[in-house]
């Protein structure tokens, strides 16, 4: 059983890292997006293997949807297809490579050399239920904070991304009549 777990872990780890590298190697933006989605799915399944099935599956589902949205953004904004016109879209490549290798060496050395403490406590029989009870009990503050942040993100995202809002039409005090529109509405225009 332990060998099977190890094989599964190393397979998923390889998929996660290789597909993360592919994100910055492939020419096509769509392929880069799919590679990132694959990396997230692999990490999501490792999280499931770490006995957090709820959070692992949430990660997988959320990231698949997010990458689908991201692929649309890529097509919208790139303005050309790098798969047809391969070109380098990077700057400071050597410096970035040096910084990332240094980061890997420092973090990897920390992971391998630090004397990690022994495990304290035992997991609950049903960790998902325990998470729900924590969120609705002693960790309620997290829900109370995250919820308004999410709402603020929705409002902020719409305000930033909207082309014309009611303030463009009706003025800052919403009292301009008739509204300023590119084309006059109504009958008989």
């Amino acid at each position: 059983m332990s060998v099977l777990v190890d094989i599964a872990f190393w397979s998923l780890a390889a998929v996660a890292v290789v597909s993360a590298v592919l994100v910055f190697v492939v020419d096509s933006m769509a392929r880069a997006t799919y590679a990132l989605a694959l990396s997230f799915v692999a990490v999501g399944f490792v999280v499931v293997m770490l006995h957090q099935s709820y959070l692992g599956i949430v990660t997988v589902l959320m990231m698949l949807m997010e990458m689908a949205v991201m692929a649309v953004y890529m097509v919208m904004y790139m303005g050309m297809n790098p798969a047809l016109m391969p070109m380098s879209m990077v700057h400071s490549k050597r410096a970035a490579l040096a910084v990332s290798v240094a980061a890997f060496v420092v973090l990897g050395a920390g992971a391998m050399l630090v004397e990690w403490p022994v495990r304290r406590g035992e997991p609950a029989a049903d960790v998902t239920a325990a998470l729900g009870e924590a969120l609705m009990g002693p960790q309620m503050l997290v829900m109370v904070v995250v919820s308004p942040v999410m709402v603020a993100t929705i409002v902020g995202g719409v305000v930033l991304a909207a082309h014309r809002t009611r303030y463009d039409r009706f003025g800052d005090d919403l009292d301009r009549r008739p509204p300023r529109d590119p084309a006059r509405g109504g009958v008989g225009r």
């Binding site: 890292v17 910055f24 990396s39 957090q52 991201m70 700057h91 410096a95 325990a130 998470l131």
Partner: protein, 100 residues
């Protein structure tokens, strides 16, 4: 599967994401780099939770990381949309005047 090995994989993912975030010129690709880095944080946090202190508080922290990632993506896309509308560009090099 040990804590050290999972953290090593997370370190590799973080380094790959860091490379992307620093080197890419397209705004959405920079965001992809940030996503890979958060991916590594999720993996490391999940491993720490399971191998060191498997009580529900650690899972709540993981949920906060997921929420932070959602906020980052939504706001990032909104800013990219505004940026594209205002200047017709999706390159970070064209946005250096926004620094500071």
């Amino acid at each position: 599967m040990t804590l050290q090995l999972v953290l090593l994989v997370a370190a590799a993912l973080f380094a790959v994401g860091l490379y992307g975030a620093i080197s890419q010129q397209v705004v959405v690709m920079v965001m992809m780099g940030l996503e890979v880095m958060v991916n590594a944080v999720i993996l490391a946090a999940a491993a720490m939770w399971w191998f060191l202190a498997p009580d529900p508080t650690g899972q709540v922290l993981l949920l906060v990381v997921l929420a932070a990632m959602t906020v980052e993506m939504a706001t990032g896309f909104a800013v990219a949309t505004l940026w594209h509308r205002a200047r017709g560009s999706d390159m970070t090099d064209a946005a250096t005047d926004l620094a500071g």
